[in-house]
């Protein structure tokens, strides 16, 4: 007898509960008035609500029936993507209906819809993990969630409050997005430029290792807002003293303290991983390289760097995800970025504006994480890959 698939069953059951008991969408008479919850049936109408119910029941059934094999897996994965797709599509058209003729009304996704979206993400990941690794079909299935971009690109979601906030600020959004990305990536780049040599040098000299790790570790414990704050006074003083710095835009507030603080933050993961990477080289490996008659330079670039590179890049990956998140705080010291929308949204008590700042940051972090993960795999030498 096949054991039931508990994860699918539990997640599908929670989706079902969310559909029955949580508000699916929320409606505000104006942007700032209190929200009123709308149930799934009221929001979508009986036919569409029933369709979503059927999909969730299908998933629940497949979970209770046992871990799907073969075609069952593919159908379950496709059903999960379909569910998320329909949640977006339906809520988009329902939003259009709800705000029709009411110029100031705002419609947002509510807890029920969010539970369904997160639930389908978990289901999709759980089910698609069961397909054999490395085959073309798995890659294809992995790309299936890209379909979710369709309702967004086709403008179906334009009546949701989040998209209205976006439309009202599309120019500003592009600017802040670029600022955020540039600030985050530039600081990780300078963190790497400083951290990789320091980490490498630490493997050579134990006397250096202690202070380097202590300083990087202490900097990492500082609250981000405090680190920004600590840099304001000295930078203001410097820019007052040197006209050149002032001309470059360096000042107590703005990009300069944010850039320096974020670079310092990315030091620890990069130094740590660089150290771990070069410390992981076994003496035998180095001995073999020497025995083959490699010069020190050849040994460094043909043995040490390739072996350490994936671990070093792992540190860059951690630092990047962290930097993208911390850059949000930089908006408080006038450095701009997507945090601007978060703090503006807080000031105006407009949750959708907060989301307009937060969701792209989340997306950026996830994409960077995935991208660097792929890069780590690409640079891992074949010999190591097979051993692992």
């Amino acid at each position: 007898m096949r054991e039931e698939d508990r994860v699918t069953a539990v997640v599908a059951a929670s989706c079902l509960a969310a559909m029955l008991f949580f508000p699916f969408m929320s409606l505000r008479a104006t942007r700032l008035s209190p929200a009123e919850g709308i149930s799934l049936f009221a929001a979508l109408g009986p036919m569409r609500a029933l369709l979503l119910f059927c999909l969730v029941l299908l998933l629940l059934g497949s979970g209770l029936g046992g871990a799907p094999k073969g075609w069952g897996t593919r159908i379950s994965a496709a059903t999960a993507v379909c569910l998320a797709f329909l949640v977006l599509e339906f809520s988009g058209s329902s939003a259009a209906r709800l705000v029709f003729g009411r110029d100031f009304a705002r419609v947002s996704l509510s807890s029920g819809a969010w539970v369904l979206l997160v639930g389908s993400f978990v289901l999709f990941r759980t089910v698609s993990r069961r397909l054999p690794k490395g085959n073309l079909e798995r890659t294809f299935l992995r790309l299936l969630p890209l379909l979710l971009l369709l309702p967004f690109l086709a403008g179906k979601l334009d009546n949701l409050s989040l998209m209205v906030e976006f439309a009202n600020r599309s120019g500003r959004f592009a600017l802040e997005l670029r600022r955020h990305l540039v600030l985050g990536l530039a600081s990780v780049a300078s963190g790497s430029l400083l951290g990789i040599p320091l980490g490498y040098a630490s493997t050579r000299s134990p006397t250096l290792k202690g202070p380097v790790f202590a300083v990087a570790g202490t900097l990492q414990t500082f609250p981000s807002l405090a680190l920004f704050g600590l840099l304001i006074a000295p930078l203001a003083w410097l820019s007052g003293r040197f006209a050149l710095l002032k001309a470059l835009g360096v000042g107590g507030i703005g990009w300069a303290p944010a850039y320096i603080a974020l670079s310092l933050y990315s030091l620890l993961p990069i130094v740590q991983n660089t150290f771990a990477g070069f410390a992981s080289l076994s003496p035998d490996m180095l001995d073999a390289a020497n025995g083959m008659g490699m010069t020190r330079r050849q040994r460094l670039f043909r043995v040490e760097v390739p072996v350490a590179a994936p671990i070093v890049l792992g540190g860059v990956r951690v630092a990047s995800v962290q930097a993208v998140g911390n850059t949000a705080v930089a908006a408080l010291i006038g450095a701009g970025g997507l945090g601007t929308f978060i703090f503006q949204g807080l000031g105006e008590a407009a949750p959708d504006l907060i989301l307009l700042g937060a969701l792209p940051i989340l997306l950026m972090a996830v994409l960077l994480d995935g991208l660097l993960d792929v890069l780590v795999r690409l640079v891992t030498p074949h010999g190591i890959r097979e051993a692992a």
């Binding site: 994860v7 993400f121 414990t221 405090a226 680190l227 010291i333 907060i354 989340l362």
Partner: protein, 251 residues
Amino acid sequence: MRSLAGTFRAKWAIPILLVGTLVFLGFSPVLLEGLLKGLFPLEAQWLYPRESPAVLLWEHLRLVAVSSFLAALAGSLLGIVATRRFGRPFLPAIEDLLSLGQTFPPVAVLALAVPAVGFGFKPALLALFLYGMLPVARNAIDGLESVPEEVKDAARGIGMTPARVLRKVELPLAMPVIMAGIRSSVVINVGTATIGATIGAGGLGVPIVAGLIGENPAYVLEGALLSALMAVVLDQGMARLAPFAHREGQA
């Protein structure tokens, strides 16, 4: 062999010095004001006037302590559940959600708690609890998973019940890793709590934000100095407490 007192001095000298500085600056406003006055002679006021540093320090500490305590409890519990037999099928899904949660910027968690529960102490507590739980759960899973199967097998072999294996074998062995998770959770919470000032949660972020808005660098430095010091003190303190979680016979 070094004397006991010598070891004690070497290990605790720096933290005691740090705690001393923190207490001194936090509880003698005159000293802190003098320092800030020396740095920014042109300002009219040097200390955030509406609340004394000691009160801000206390508010901050209270927020971090309550949220980290709850996060440590819930995170460890989640880790335990995910590594039991009935919870094991959920392990990959839980790990997915944990890593997705950690890519979410802490500021956003804080900001989104406001529409859920309103302004003030409560949303900050909720956000800090949720976000602080992630590293604890992550480490609890890693720690419990790293207990060798043979060790658990031996424990079962001498007749221990599953609950006893967990309490007497798995948890003690995983404790250093779990403690490391709690430590990073505390440090993250100290940092996020400073931003809590923007949602009315009080604490050391208050003078920073007030100083940024009112363009008074002395207020900013007041909050930044104290919160940075507090983060280092808690981090170092917990690092030095961690060995007490070790048991005899453990490397």
